[in-house]
Subunit: 480 residues, 4 copies
């Protein structure tokens, strides 16, 4: 949840919101996006529908939800229905044009679409559509859905959406707003979360339950893999246009890293799961320790679980500076462990003379954890034992998480002992894949650890290299 300024960690994908039938639909969507901000900080947008003539109103901008929206822009988003989106580009460039929701006119009426996930065959479908005369306005893979919607000859937009999605492979949890309905759908594997709730008689759809909690909505249920929910004039209908895939493939990384700890995913509460991983990690890799400390805030829950399991004291040996901006002007004369110091500082009194277990949820390049390890020793730690509450990350994600490339993943190349040496730890232990699966992670997509990709990845599955067009980076605060 604390990724800005932490360049060597996976970044988020996207978050979506849908509101149907609430007098303050846009405001509710805005608050929901606020709670989903951890899922994407690059751009935010809301498209509402209503007013006297069922018009759509849209406001999108680059940056955080709180920067993009103000009282005026919310007020202009009239109507009782809305869809919203926060984005961190997993494919496509980072420009205002790519900000979602996408809004378009089709001969079946106006449509607005917000998508979380990554389509593995988007590049090929896009090529084919361009070959048939489609003009793409963005470099985002999500735009293919809009074009397929527009070209489908099915009568209704719901039917067209089924038609479109049947052509696409990969991960999608999406919400669609039509002239008279809100549609929410998850791919057959159910890679990404999508949850349904109710608020004052209105229906709400969100990526995570934490968004429902903030707006005071009651959680109804998770939308099932392959399920499509259609809400029209306050009535909810549920379809199963796509058969649920044999193997469930909910993203295990949502539990380990992505989702907010207070969210409940289909398999249960995130915080509880993380704590359980810590307990299993302790059983798999106990360490002769005087104190267990988390790397705040990502290692928090697992460290508590680890400490409880071993009966070793848990303490806060490293504190975090919460005022971390996106960039720092580093002096030419480099400061030791600079990058990590901007954000973290050790408390010697907690650490000095002790055998310290440091718990985190992942190692990417290994640079940060090495600097933290140095910092702990400089603060007097006698031993530093690093424990990671997940297996080594060795593969990229093709379903919507912006992972570092293989070259950047230290575990893709080095065996654990060499990683341990390179980060300067006295010992290093990763939770085993079996341990992860036993903890409740069975039936999930754990391809980034196991290499077992539920949806086959072919040559053209790489993030689409769509356009020769390079848009220059002029500051575009917001577009409306």
């Amino acid at each position: 949840m604390d990724r800005p300024g932490q360049p060597d960690r996976p970044r988020e994908a996207c978050g979506v919101m849908g509101v149907h039938g609430h007098p303050e639909a846009a405001n509710i969507a805005y608050l929901g996006l606020y709670a989903l901000q951890h899922r994407g900080q690059e751009s935010a947008g809301i498209c509402s529908r209503g007013g006297r003539e069922g018009e759509q109103f849209v406001h999108r901008g680059m940056g955080l939800v709180s920067d993009v929206f103000g009282e005026q822009s919310i007020a202009k988003l009239r109507g009782r229905h809305a869809v919203g989106h926060v984005r961190y580009s997993t494919s496509g460039d980072s420009t205002l044009r790519n900000a979602q929701p996408f809004c378009a006119n089709t001969d079946a009426g106006p449509v607005a679409l917000a998508h979380n996930g990554n389509l593995v065959n988007a590049a090929r479908v896009r090529d084919e559509l361009e070959g048939r005369g489609a003009i793409f306005a963005t470099t985002s893979d999500s735009e293919v859905i809009v074009h397929l919607l527009a070209r489908s000859r099915q009568p209704t937009l719901e039917d067209r959406l089924v038609d479109a999605l049947s052509r696409l492979k990969g991960a999608y949890s999406l919400v669609m707003q039509t002239r008279d309905a809100l549609v929410a759908v998850r791919d057959p594997h159910g890679f990404r979360p999508l949850v349904l709730g109710q608020l004052d008689g209105a229906w709400v759809v969100a990526s995570e339950t934490c968004a429902l909690d903030l707006i005071g909505a009651a959680v109804e249920r998770h939308i099932a893999p392959g399920e499509m929910v259609v809400i029209r004039r306050g009535k909810l209908g549920a379809l199963q246009p796509f058969p649920r895939a044999d193997c469930g493939a909910f993203c295990i990384f949502e539990y380990i890293y992505f989702a907010r700890p207070d969210s409940n995913l289909p398999g249960g509460n995130v915080y509880a799961f993380r704590k359980e991983l810590g307990r299993r990690l302790a059983r798999e890799h106990p360490a002769p320790a005087d104190v267990v400390i988390p790397l705040l805030d990502s290692g928090n829950a697992a460290a508590l679980g680890y400490a409880e399991e071993l009966g070793v004291p848990y303490d806060t040996g490293i504190i975090r500076n919460h005022f971390v901006g996106r960039t720092f002007i580093e002096p030419a004369q480099t400061i030791r462990n600079f990058g990590v110091k901007i954000k973290h500082n050790a408390i010697p009194g907690v650490i000095s003379g002790k055998r310290v277990v440091l718990v985190d949820d992942s190692i990417v390049r290994g640079t940060s954890i090495m600097k933290i390890s140095n910092m702990l020793r400089a603060a007097g730690a006698r031993e530093v034992h690093v424990r990671i509450s997940a297996p080594p990350t060795t593969r990229p994600c093709h379903y919507g998480i912006d992972m570092p490339t293989r070259q950047e993943l230290i575990a893709a190349d080095l065996p654990v002992p060499e990683i341990c040496a390179s980060i300067g730890a006295d010992s290093l232990g990763y939770l085993s894949l079996a341990g992860l699966r036993d903890a409740g992670g069975r039936g999930h997509c754990d391809a980034c650890f196991s290499g077992e990709y539920p949806v086959p990845i072919t040559a053209d599955s790489s993030p689409p290299q769509i356009s020769l067009l390079r848009e220059s980076s002029a500051a575009a605060a917001a577009e409306g």
Copy 2:
């Protein structure tokens, strides 16, 4: 040329630039747009092509050329080829998305397009394209050209452009940039200007000669109605894919009002034409005057011609404040003749005790000229005779000029004597339609005066009411 802050005058349409084969193509395009700024102040954009892999680079923004472009954005527009655009919306909303050039990928390669003019059947074609699955990213009528280009099955983009334009009716002077060529084309009636020039071995296309003058390019010739010029690898080919219409229909309003006085249009120099109108106006409507004064700067040339013809002194009786911004905060307690005073002030010494002839090029609502007339009387004018160097404007333009609506045109409803009374003048004289045509305006489109529209206007010719989508007006300085 001085229209900002003058709300009851016609506003400009668009200006286009094309550069082929110059090492500083984007910078040349930028300067050309600078000179064409009077044709559109809403947005500006340039798309260059080149670099190592023939990529396209684009930068567009809302506002004046000098606000949209800076050193950095120009530097990013690499390559030896460029097309540029300044825009005043004649159709479509005023948002960044509508800023041109339009850039797109087609299966015949990338394309960038800049359009000046208005297509009378755009709305119908757009409906039809949407019915066949096209997704429009803007509300501009020009986007239909891009979609037709993409859907054409002709092999080359030039052929496709011919294909596309053969489906469209109305006014277009446009430049298109493809992977290896610059294409410039005018509609068969030749409504809008487009001129070809050369600079240091490079080819340049611009809406007006004043753009060529600024960059030091030599004027080659005007592109003919229905002609298409294709420049590829430095070689120029000229085609006539569309037969020139029987009647030429170059817009007479370009001469009277739009174009910069230093520009040479197909029929000759603008300033000279305006002065000639003044001379004819003097012969048609002489006034017993002591002094002839222009309404700066729009009546300048005609006033000089009028004064010369009658042998009456020309003088500057009204001066202009050149620091006029877009908005003023008017006090609640209204100031007499406020609107016009922000911009104009009389010089009593020139006017007092005199019979004054006030010359301008048009009357729209009549409010401004009435206030000016009051101001002249307050400054001591004995008589105020208003002379207009064009016939009464009674009809809207369907070919790309953002005219006031019929309801706003005082001459659409009132005969001249009543207009005279309503503006408080001692006499009022308009140049006759015959006089205008004799002055060299024969063979032009003068539909706004005569009602004789060269391209038939059908029910669906009204500016396309394209979208129910309303984008809110968040400030978007530039997008790149």
Copy 3:
């Protein structure tokens, strides 16, 4: 009046406004500043007084009046009294801190001050005040007045102002707002203008009459040199605290160049004066010409006078682009006569084959006029005769006009024939000093032409090099 983007012309100084007893005082001051914008484009500010407790409210910002003020900022400037200022730095750096009016608390109450002019002994007084513990917040010479006000032991702020000004030498036309009065005062030589008017029972003070015209105020009279006007509770009192200097020294450059042509200065209307200079110029330096053209807009009036006097046709041979921004990105491959072309373009039809007289009001470095001359020849002029409606500018101004330095003034070093050669003209004629004085310029300060400085300039009169502090140039749109 058209100086932005014209780097080699003198720039303006400052304009001031005062309003006493009007329900919309700030709005009136704002409009007045609007009309005075030509006197300073660097910063603008208004300080109003009123509300329930006689508070002062202030809003200042960098840039044009229309950029600095909006509806909200005007609304916050409550009260029935206001003073305003537009500034072009003649001394002091260009930062927000220097924006006027200055507002301060003294033990005689709050005070706000707006100053036009330059104090020749400011640096010495400032040194002395700093030696006695004064802390200066700005680098402007005007701040010394505030400190002297604060340190004076006179009982009232009017008395203190007299006390302060008696210590200062140079040029000042200033307005001061106290707890209950508006005070306006001119230095004994009366270098800068200051005029008194009435509007709906309120009193208004402004630098030029054009400000009164815009707001619809009646001109009462010019404030006399050495006079102080005190307006309290609607009553006006006039004092003469400083004896009027033996020689009047109103700045002749205000007539020739600075003031708006529609303004009436103490000696009469500006436009009429300029035209008379043109007539005298014609008599002193007739030219065998076919056409007389002005360099728009600065040479306008003089060119008309010149043409009338000789009976030669006046015409517009050079037009101006009114959309000129502050900066241009020039290509590396330089364009011929680039600088001047951005703003001016010749109309060959007016010039070709003719003997042309080009009239302007001054030559500074000579670069622009040389380029214009080239441009005229390229447009076919047979001969180019340059006529300047003022004597050669050879000296700097110490009283508030931001003149180029001696090194930049071509006439400071070269005799007229050499200037003529260097600008490439066939002949060059300047109005003589005697001619200028006969035209009505007697009893004025013409030191920039004659070197006769009415107030002695000593070693310390140079613009004060006040501070070692350099403020970095972060963009500060406005401060309030």
Copy 4:
């Protein structure tokens, strides 16, 4: 450390930095301010000194350090010496003019000053200075120091600073930069921290050790109460111009709330102190609990201490949203517990069916803790016992902490049982004043708890109501 968006908690005061003799002085100061950001988020500024002629360079702006400074502004701050400041207004308005460091010229040379603390007799001294002609440019109480410096007749700026401070009462930890020295001084009671360090041969002064940690400087020692340190040409001299007050008065609130947990204050490490408070709190107010949870992050350390002392499990029952902006657009139809939900959410799995102890460091109005308590019960808590690791806050701070007013402090009016009822807790326990003092808080200023003010507060000690001037709130991002 996490105060933005938490309106009912005390806000920070200020942080100061000084660097002497480092080639990248401004960059070092910038990073130090980064680490001190928790002490003030309203404005930031740095004044450097050096360059060829010993000039001062300054850059100040509104907002966070990361927003105010960029590569360019840092690059402009040349020289080997610098002072810096982050500010949260404890007195004076919130405008750019009040941003520190203050820079001024005196007849003893240029000076820059950064001040943390509040002067209790500033208003009176200011009145007196204004009576003697001083002009104040800001509404900050710190400016009186500058004026006293400028008016002192002592020869050097150090002597003048002693002279100035001897006139002032209250809290000050300040750094002053002169033409050739860096001076750091603390008031005789030593209310605010100030620590001395070394980095690569340069001297560094900072409000807290965490700033030294980030830049990799070694901590030398805390500057003593009443001590003045003068660093000139790399040499450090220590003086004791003011006798240390009989009673030490270091602010206990720095330990409890203000300082970063990783900082070491004169009495020891902050985190360790907070944990000890939790342990004592457990002994004074044990609760029959199943789980102890902190209100993140303010109650973190105390909750761990409390849990350890009682042997009850510590867990994270409430999580924090780290993407909290300054404002939220709340729907008209209010959401239950809205304010607190934006930032906090409960994890039912941790809480449900349990007797929960919630630990925090203070209660101000009681509104937030009431909403948190409701949230815990809604999440299934069987009992909610609130424990506060400090005594009830009943009095305002006069020495530099921006406390809520008495009316806003719930404990100022209500006895503990009534507070308990009003916040809906099953029990409420505050640490006793004796407990706090025993924990190491003896010899500190604990006036906000005890009412024992070390420096007497007289009628004029209230935050100075300095000026009738109201500056309007135009956005001023930065000034340079």
